[in-house]
Symmetry: D2
Subunit: 349 residues, 4 copies
């Protein structure tokens, strides 16, 4: 039984770590921190976890935290807001065998991405090259035994899994790609805001982050890294009136080598043979069928009329798009089968 | 006071005609037909209309209908499923001064569109050239006094109003356009189906009609007709878990003449100066803000990095996307101010 | 044309006043205040009002406000949070002919209600007897010409319209009544809170305000006042995952005079003969059919097995439950037909 | 590993059996029948199960079914529409060791309930006394080894778990009880209907089954059986715009022995000490916190003013209200710990 600490357990991805770990046969959560919710029972903030974590309280982020982790924990799962991991990882490093971070703080090797897309310089650029990028279906090799893992973002996982095999196969041109995606509201996190109140979102559909959403360079990096080309794309996210789920509808220019819908589907299916969490099919992927599971659904179409390839992916942003993928990475890091303790069947309806 | 008949009043667009006519100062509905609901009180199928149409029942589609219309009605509003107008319009023509049809049955001048996109030959191709296309902001000239009007479709109105000025101005290339759109469930009509049941749709987001949705040639026609070029585009609709609303996020290649976000917004704003139902703004359009109103919200962005223009439109698919636009057309046909009796303020929240 | 000021126009009930006034043939809004949103364009906070109030901004609550109102306004509509009207009404009184207040600040004649149910003593108890209670279908007589009107609350209107005729007729015993109700989220107001964020509310149903919700004494007062008996009841509100709508399912003990479902329905129907905003029917009332309208739907059943009467009411909490009823009261106060400018047909779907 | 057949696997409760069995360490589903969906891949109707049941198809209800079950199955889980089990159980009996039925077909010992509340006489009344009632927290004794189990209904489980301890303790009078409940739409089953289409339900709240819902006598039976008194109650269900979840808000007259909120809560908490699936707390139960789990949340309040006790329960109608409870019963029947393979942590948000 591996002992785990969850740093940032009061946010949605932290709480999802707690939910998933409760069903994991090899994981025991011994610490769950929550700065704004310190000392509050987990069951009070998340009554859904009352049965599983009845008496546990959120631990504060104080001076003792690092030494407690060092004394009692094998692996740390982190679900903090952007920027916080940059200061915490340097403190934790060396005190615990493995750190799995869900934030974007260590996803890029190139420190220049941070001022350009995140608005400020990185606080620990010397660590960027130490991190493994956590998207197992595309980049699995370096995960076993990794000390530091930066898990891929939710939009990034959806779009990259759909597009990367097609770009690598040369079916889709690496530039001129459009990624048009929609997310459920949980992607915006737990703290209440004007634009995520029920009365703002319910019965609404609208785009946000026009032109400059932070996941843009990460999708480009993931596809480029897998396909060995320089991908460039325009990414437009939308907010959909639902709790969870991401659908990415991706458009690329059909290359000169050509393809049909059948060959495009085969290309994707072959890339993910034997993957326990990937379903490739003719069906149009639906976010709802992935609810609560670590499964991603993919499809593709080739439009001869406009010489365009459509690739579509759907997943649960808090599971395969965050905490589930984090645990998949933890499994890989620890040498467990990747699917250990992770649900593949979605909750429907 | 103009006397109106609503043919197909038991469907969602027909019921919306009833709702809007109840508040129209110059319209009196004297007949409301409903084949499957004949003789049933309107208030029984649509309790929302109980106060306004307390004792009225749906009239059957029998032999007397045409003569009753001839005797008592100035203008017919039609909200029938695809194909039905093709047989009814030849019977009605000459018996009533004005017909406003919401279906796609008479939107195209070119009869070859029907077998290609709608799966069967047109039943009355000789009438196709007699119809005026009902999208007043783009094609207003022929509406006053028109005998036959084919109102533009919901997706078509949204995408065309956003794109047409930019293509006409030469800012957006006429080919290589992507229209990625999402619709509320009311667009699928009233009869219950597997894919529009609450448990199928709620908390789900997915694409449908991949590659071959019927609105594709109509959007191309509207933009081409307004801009005077041959537009070609790929259209992908999605189903969003909400009652009403369409958002179209449109991507086009920035042309050599170039543009900035500011000039693109100015281009659209100028095209719709003094239009009572068009709001052009920097804000990202939201379907929710259009609920129940005949208003469309538009914006645009220019991405220098990828040389792409984004144009976004939002409207209520049953109002500006159907019955409200039908009444706007009826107003124009009858010489009334176009905004007569139509709400411009949306219901929020 | 009457000139109006809306005080508290940035909240949901204030914004609904703006929406409804935009379609009112006799009302012109000349001032709309919003303390937290002062100087911000209305269209920026409420894009749904962009077409109707294009360039208008929220006016601050400063020293000039009272004199501006005195100089330019016939009637003031107030939609402030609880407690604010207690300080503002004394300042406004005498400066404007009519004040219509949506808050609970002046609904009770008995000042002891305030410390008991609202937690603090009233600031202007001498004014309590000056206010007319604004629930026209039950208490219409004093409205014409009234200087000060306190509009009934949303739950109060729903439950009282359903129960009052049955209690007055002696069919339902005045004590032992249960009012079990559900409301859409807009009832909680615009500012974002933990318990009204989308991710808290969507797909959830739960009770709140157990035992001590503030509307309890007001429902008792309305029924008692209309029926001429001392009613006592237990009220339990629930939060439902929808924007608008209140449904009140009320249970009362069948009295010794007895009744059947038919006679109970007749009793209610007779009480509201010729009311433009009340629909009494065998159908189970649905909140959705009232959306955006000032209409209330009512039904009743008598259960012989348990000797219980069920009375059910449904309405839109922001219209008949707040701003629409406020305008209905304003119409009555000003001598206009009560239904002037108010929608009776709900938006469906 | 126990071999299971799921009869009626194409409905929502059958599909939920499939989802839960996929994560159960001791269960292997070898047959899943679906009459209307025979020979169709499970993954085609339920893409959420694609990862877990990739190649399995729905088996038809033909002559071979019984002999196949006899040859290969230890336990049958049944999720058929009302009435079907009455003809199937007599055929299956003796061919398989254990049958767990989710329908109401064998819940009552008294055959007269069926014509009165279900509208027709029972087809196999001689079997009624052979069935054990499957609500483990109240009636656990007879489950181990039981051949035939009739699992309690969804509303019944919610209301009975909340009320039964209070009635048994004499705190709540056994007559004059009101059960006011709300359910998500999945309770109405998979086939599309007018009243469960998205556009009917979304943004709506309404009551149904007024006075005569079939769960009424079953709630009375469960409370009476546990408390040893004759309970009588009026039950009113409502439909809420959400996929899953039942909340029952129950009102009872406080008895002469009296109680406070504290003693009422203690009474319930003591009744369920050590139950893995019951959470008793001061918090108002929320359906959302139970999503996907077999957990029920309970609370209570005593209102001295009206001498009324409120008891509230919340659960997931497809898990603790149906298939999860069915598996809990199967565990008990087979001698496994009741919580084996069942999730206790709900999915949030």
């Amino acid at each position: 039984m591996h002992k785990l600490a969850i740093i940032g357990a009061s946010g949605f991805t932290g709480a999802e770590f707690l939910r998933l770990c409760a069903a994991h046969p090899n994981f025991e959560v011994v610490i769950a921190t929550g700065e704004s919710q310190a000392h509050r029972p987990i069951a009070d903030l998340y009554p859904n976890l009352a049965s599983a974590y009845g008496n546990m309280v959120f631990t504060p982020h104080n001076d003792e935290l690092i030494s407690t982790i060092e004394a009692s924990v094998d692996l740390v799962l982190m679900g903090l807001p952007h920027g916080h991991a940059q200061t915490l990882v340097p403190q934790l490093r060396g005190k615990v065998k493995h750190i799995i971070d869900l934030s974007a703080d260590f996803r890029f090797n190139d420190p220049s991405v941070y001022p350009k897309w995140y608005g400020e310089a990185h606080q620990a650029p010397e660590l960027l090259n130490e991190f493994v990028f956590g998207l197992p279906e595309l980049f699995r090799d370096q995960l076993p035994g990794a000390e530091l893992t930066a898990v891929a973002g939710c939009y990034v996982t959806t779009a990259s899994l759909a597009l990367a095999p097609l770009v690598k196969a040369g079916i889709v041109e690496p530039t001129g790609i459009i990624v048009d995606a929609a997310s459920g509201v949980s992607g915006a996190g737990r703290p209440p805001k004007d634009n995520t109140s029920f009365c703002s979102v319910d019965e609404d559909f609208s785009a946000y982050g026009l032109l400059n959403h932070r996941h843009t360079p990460e999708i480009e990096m993931a596809i480029s890294g897998y396909a060995g080309v320089d991908a460039q794309l325009l990414f437009t996210p939308h907010l959909a009136p639902m709790n969870r789920g991401i659908l990415a509808t991706c458009y690329g220019n059909l290359s000169d080598i050509g393809a049909t819908t059948e060959t495009a589907l085969e290309c994707i299916a072959e890339a993910y043979t034997d993957e326990p969490f990937v379903v490739v099919d003719q069906r149009s992927p639906s976010t709802k069928t992935t609810l609560g599971s670590n499964t991603v659904h993919l499809t593709a179409r080739v439009d001869e009329r406009t010489q365009t390839v459509i690739a579509i992916g759907a997943l649960d942003n808090l599971v395969k798009g965050a905490s589930g993928q984090g645990i998949q990475c933890a499994n890989a890091v620890l040498g467990l089968p990747e699917h250990t303790g992770l649900p593949t069947a979605g909750l429907f309806p």
